[in-house]
């Protein structure tokens, strides 16, 4: 092979390599933003918590059920009805953790989920302040 031909081949190889690298760069340089899904989960978490706190379950207001669960240790209605309501409100595959605490001590927990978007809302009942927390993963 002549010297000139070898050089041309070299140039072609370099250009081809540059092209391949360019294509890979363009493909992987586009960073997909996670802001929108996070924003949506934030809306879902806040809306769900606010909606839950307003409803009556078996003709009992939600705050009364929380107080009953705390004072009489009777959480049967919450344990029975809440999972159904939450799973109907969210998509089936969505994991969540709902916690109710008083003075930073959780006395009612539903679901399991370690990290995600969280929403808090305090409820006052009979002089006690309960902190409700919804975490969606």
């Amino acid at each position: 092979m002549k010297k000139a031909q070898t050089e041309i081949l070299g140039v072609v190889i370099i250009i081809a390599l540059l092209l391949v690298f360019g294509i890979f760069y363009l493909k992987f340089s586009s960073n997909t933003s996670t802001l929108i899904p996070e924003m949506r989960t934030n809306i879902q978490t806040n809306n769900l918590l606010q909606a839950l706190l307003k409803i009556n379950i078996n003709n009992e207001p939600f705050d009364s059920l929380i107080y009953k669960c705390y004072s009489k240790k009777d959480c049967s209605t919450l344990n029975k009805e809440l999972p159904k309501i939450i799973s109907l409100s969210l998509n089936n595959e969505t994991q969540y953790k709902f916690t109710i605490s008083e003075n930073n001590k959780a006395f009612f927990t539903l679901g399991s989920c370690s990290s995600g978007i969280t929403a808090n809302y305090p409820i006052s009942k009979n002089g006690l302040i309960f902190d409700t927390n919804m975490l969606i993963c």
Binding site: I15, R40, N47, K54, S89, N91
Partner: protein, 167 residues
């Protein structure tokens, strides 16, 4: 010019032509890939814009004065039915089907809520959906959020699911 020089010049000319040919091929391939990338990028940006506007709608629909409760963050079902009856349209509803499904209390019938069903004693369990805006299309992208619903006739709250299908 001798015959030997002429053959050499022709060979060099051929070489130049081949190099130019290869360079053009590479250029055409690059342009092709660049346009493919640009087109997919434009499509992606379009989809992202639609998703963003849907997410904005997801958060703002509950505060539309036409359908929202007066003070709290919820949707008043009587206002919702009046809004549906008026066939009002907002530019942000474009290319979307917007539905509110009742979740709790759980509806017994899978019907579309109408003023007639609203006046029935069994409301809200006698119907399932409120359709705010309807649009036809294929392969919709669906996003949803739970939402608080207010039933003024018995002054109680329920939970609904706001579903936005983007085409």
């Amino acid at each position: 010019m001798t015959a030997h020089q002429s053959t050499k010049a022709q060979l060099e000319m051929n070489e130049t032509i081949i190099v130019l040919f290869i360079v053009f091929i590479i250029l055409i391939i690059s342009i092709f890939f660049y346009y493919q990338y640009s087109i997919s990028n434009v499509k992606k940006t379009g989809e992202e814009t639609l998703t963003t506007s849907s997410s904005v709608l997801l958060s703002s629909i509950g505060s539309l004065p036409d359908i929202s409760c007066n003070k709290e963050n919820c949707i008043d079902t009587i206002k919702l039915l009046a809004f549906i009856n008026q066939n009002k349209d907002y530019p942000i509803f474009d290319k979307k089907t917007i539905t509110i499904e009742q979740v709790y209390p759980q509806p017994k019938l899978d019907k579309i809520c109408t003023p007639i069903l609203y006046n029935d004693v069994n409301f809200p369990t006698n119907c399932k959906k409120f359709i705010l805006h309807k649009n036809q299309g294929s392969n919709p992208k669906i996003i949803s959020t739970p939402i608080s619903l207010y039933y003024p006739q018995n002054k109680q709250y329920g939970i609904g699911k706001l579903i936005i299908e983007v085409y």
